[in-house]
Amino acid sequence: MTLNKVAVDKTANERMDNQAELTFSLNERKLTNSKSKANYWIAFAVGVGLLLPFAANTYQIHILNLVVLYIMLAIGLNLTMGYCGQLNLAHVAFYAAGAYTSAILTTTYQFNFWLALPISILVSVFLGVLIGLPSLRVRTHYLAIATLGLSIAVNETIVNLDTITGGPVGITGIPKPSFFGILLITEYSYYYLVFAFTLLLFLFSRLVVKHGIGRSFRAVRDDHIAAQSLGINVAKQQILAFAFSGLFAGVGGVLYAHMLSYVSPDTFTFNEMMFILTIVVIGGLGNIYGSIAGAVILLILREWLLQFENWQQVLYGAMIVALVVFMPGGLVSIKSLFQRRKKAGSS
């Protein structure tokens, strides 16, 4: 009865959402049906990922490193935004927190990388929970601008605390980590570190999405009041979503800082936030594999557009508009887009 009423009250907007959700859930069901098939594909992708550095030159390996890093960042944002429906524009602030904490600990205080890593993650998760608190009171546009404002505040704080963070100049000479005595000095060896963490977090996110937390997240996203009436602790799920955002971005930040040996506040801007958001949306909200595809495609696109020099950003913007207008479900919706066309044609 209530469910019927819910359906009646949905606006066109929400109806579209539901349709998208339906295709997603269909996809998911298909995935569980062919679970072993999906596992084979993942194993295959991991194999390819492990072998790729052997075919890459020094420039390509740098791009590969970034692709794998952005996959991690995008999946984290997708958990918060795509699955839990929280408009989180502070992802980049958690990224900065991870990067800066590890940079400060390993340079000023001479910490070991492996000791700095968990501390940095804790800091960014804590920041995630803190910035997630407004989500308990405000939603949609209001939450977007609240998180964006706090994210700008974090960036400005980094610039202003110049005795600790180096101010606008940033921190240089961040040491490379070593792994059981092997110093990961080249980008080739560093790639495997980033790859391992991304794989770990990817498997973790798959676990989250498939089990109770993921289901609660989607319930909160689709209708937080209905979710509450079903006994889901909405506040807890929302804070958890922001904590995940902090976790993924924190790990990403640490890896980024030690990859380039250099951090500066210029990296963690609104534009960077929008780039990660674009990966998630173009890939497909509420689909982890979409985020992976989005990161691969957008980073390659960004490099490819470099040849157009001044016009690269103009073309980039125009492509985003075109993709959003013509393919609102993201890359993962291509299949259903064709299916819908076919259905429309036959009926």
Binding site: L87, R137, Y142, L148, L150, G317, I320
Partner: protein, 291 residues
């Protein structure tokens, strides 16, 4: 904070606040009509500022004529944008955000290609020697901005409430289907609203030129604060946008007189606290979630 500093920063804050208010009204108008949070609004303001500056600085036209020319061109740009954004109106907030941001990126980088990244210094259109009353000194241009913004807002209210076209625009914002049935061209009304919002941004952009540099960067700073101001007042409400804009301006200026480099941080933190206390903005209606 003594009385002199208080009054001085209050007036300065109202000056910059009325610019934020004009930007915030633009956001709210478009949101109310099309349900669209237009993240390209800041970039429109920047392009408007550049067009006005080109006429005023390079071609030595009158400042007011520069504002008018810029408004007309930006108004047309806004109406063209409506056509591009039309499919986004029905979509989720994130898609709208990304689509309008894409347009913003295009505008931003076209501006960089055409005018470079350096920025242009604009001289004041009036003699800007501070008036000294007692020990309070006031910049006359700030008063000009306040008065001009107030006039623009009054004209806007007159247009929306006393003319037939304004009535049509309001009705198509409120009841899209009913307005269609009554024979109104809702798409045209949407285009006019986006145009009108863009005109407000252009006026704000040209007016703020002599105070700030006119540079491609102004879009993100004024754009984001304008959006925050619209939200602070209550998204979709014109009085809310005015209150939000003025509050933000005064808050920022007052903090800046004490600890200048922390003004952004403190302003945004206070903003978030206000939102937590009053989630629908200062004058926004309490939106009850429907089941």
């Amino acid at each position: 904070m003594n009385g002199t500093v208080l009054i001085q920063s209050l007036i300065g804050g109202l000056g910059i606040g009325s610019i934020y208010a004009l930007v915030a009204i633009g956001y709210s108008l478009v949101y109310r009509t099309m349900g669209l949070a237009n993240f390209a609004h800041g970039n429109i303001l920047m392009v408007g500022a550049y067009i006005g500056t080109v006429f005023y600085v390079s071609m030595h036209t009158n400042f007011i004529i520069a504002i008018i020319i810029s408004s007309i061109l930006i108004g047309i740009l806004g109406m063209v944008m409506e056509r591009i954004l039309r499919p986004l109106g029905k979509m989720d907030l994130i898609y709208m955000m990304l689509g309008t941001l894409g347009i913003g990126i295009v505008l931003q980088n076209l501006a960089i290609i055409i005018w470079g990244t350096d920025g242009i210094a604009v001289q004041y259109p009036i003699k800007n020697e501070p008036w000294v009353i007692g020990n309070i000194s006031i910049s006359p241009y700030t008063l000009v901005i306040i008065c001009a913004s107030a006039t623009v807002v009054l004209a806007l209210q007159f247009f929306l409430h006393k003319t037939k076209l304004g009535l049509a625009m309001r009705s198509s914002a409120q009841e899209k289907e009913m307005s269609l049935v009554l024979g109104m061209n809702v798409n045209l009304m949407n285009a006019l609203t986006l145009g009108l919002g863009s005109v407000l941004a252009a006026i704000a952009g040209v007016m703020v030129g002599p105070v700030f540099y006119v540079s491609p960067d102004m879009s993100s700073s004024v754009g984001i604060i304008g959006f925050a101001a619209a939200i602070l007042g209550g998204f979709g409400s014109i009085p809310g946008a005015i209150i939000g804009g003025l509050t933000f301006g005064v808050l920022q200026t007052m903090v800046a007189t004490q600890v200048s480099e922390w003004s952004q941080v403190i302003a945004f933190v206070i903003f978030v606290f206000v939102l937590i206390i009053k989630p629908s903005g200062i004058v926004g209606e309490r939106v009850v979630d429907k089941i």
